[in-house]
Subunit: 151 residues, 2 copies
């Protein structure tokens, strides 16, 4: 059985729900290799008092630690929200094979800063495949619910 | 006595030299508050097998850990090389007061990806002051020496 992108995005959403329950901005990520989840992460900025502790960074460092490697060309990262500039930069360095994200992020997404002449999938590694919009509504709904309770 | 930017950049260079000796790309950083160094970091990508382990990230997380805070509005980060996109993003989230860097980095510096209509100090926080070119030659020389031995 081959699992779909939606299946793994559901797993990333489960991570995002853990963040939500912990009163963190609800973003979750999983790293998948050969159809298996090898690392998970959810936003822990408040818990760790560390503004670099985004879901993607925690999932990437967990994957590096598990595999003992600093590159992930054969892996896919699923994340519920369009990566910010920091996470996009971290994903560039990872040389990850694929990035699949859920909801777009007009405020803090990496798209905002790029110039139009950039390569198609800049700032990511040229070999990285990029897919957006998987379970976008569910991913966005979690974010909206979170910020609604904060106002 | 007030220490100069050059003084603290020398301290960042000492960190870069530690990286050089450990056969890591020689970039170093220090975080300064009230004229005191509160955190240090140097590139440990190879040691940690973690491509997010740049000098700036390690220095920032060390500062967060020491202060128990996720923002650094009263701090200055000194780093020997122009930050990459990942580190620029991390510095944005830190709301750091000042960033002082040494050598420019035409290959991987954050400048490369920004569109020309970006705000003057984008992608950093609007309140972050940015200074480049402090001890630029010394900082660049260390990088050149490193890559010369690698060829």
């Amino acid at each position: 059985m081959i699992y779909s992108d939606e299946y793994f995005m559901q797993q990333a959403l489960k991570e995002a729900e853990l963040a939500f329950e912990a009163e963190e901005v609800p973003v979750g990520a999983v790293v998948v290799m050969n159809q298996k989840i090898i690392a998970r992460g959810h936003n822990q900025v408040e818990l760790l008092k560390d503004s670099t502790a985004h879901a993607e960074i925690l999932a990437l460092t967990s994957a590096y630690s598990k595999l003992g490697t600093k590159y992930l060309p054969d892996a896919t990262l699923y994340v519920t929200l369009e990566p910010c500039l920091m996470c996009a930069g971290a994903l560039y360095w990872s040389k990850i094979g694929r990035i699949v994200y859920g909801a777009s992020d007009d405020k803090n997404g990496y798209h905002k800063h790029l110039h139009s002449e950039s390569a198609a999938n800049a700032p990511f590694h040229p070999k990285t495949e990029l897919v957006g919009g998987i379970l976008a509504e569910e991913c966005a709904w979690l974010m909206k619910s979170f910020f609604k309770t904060r106002r």
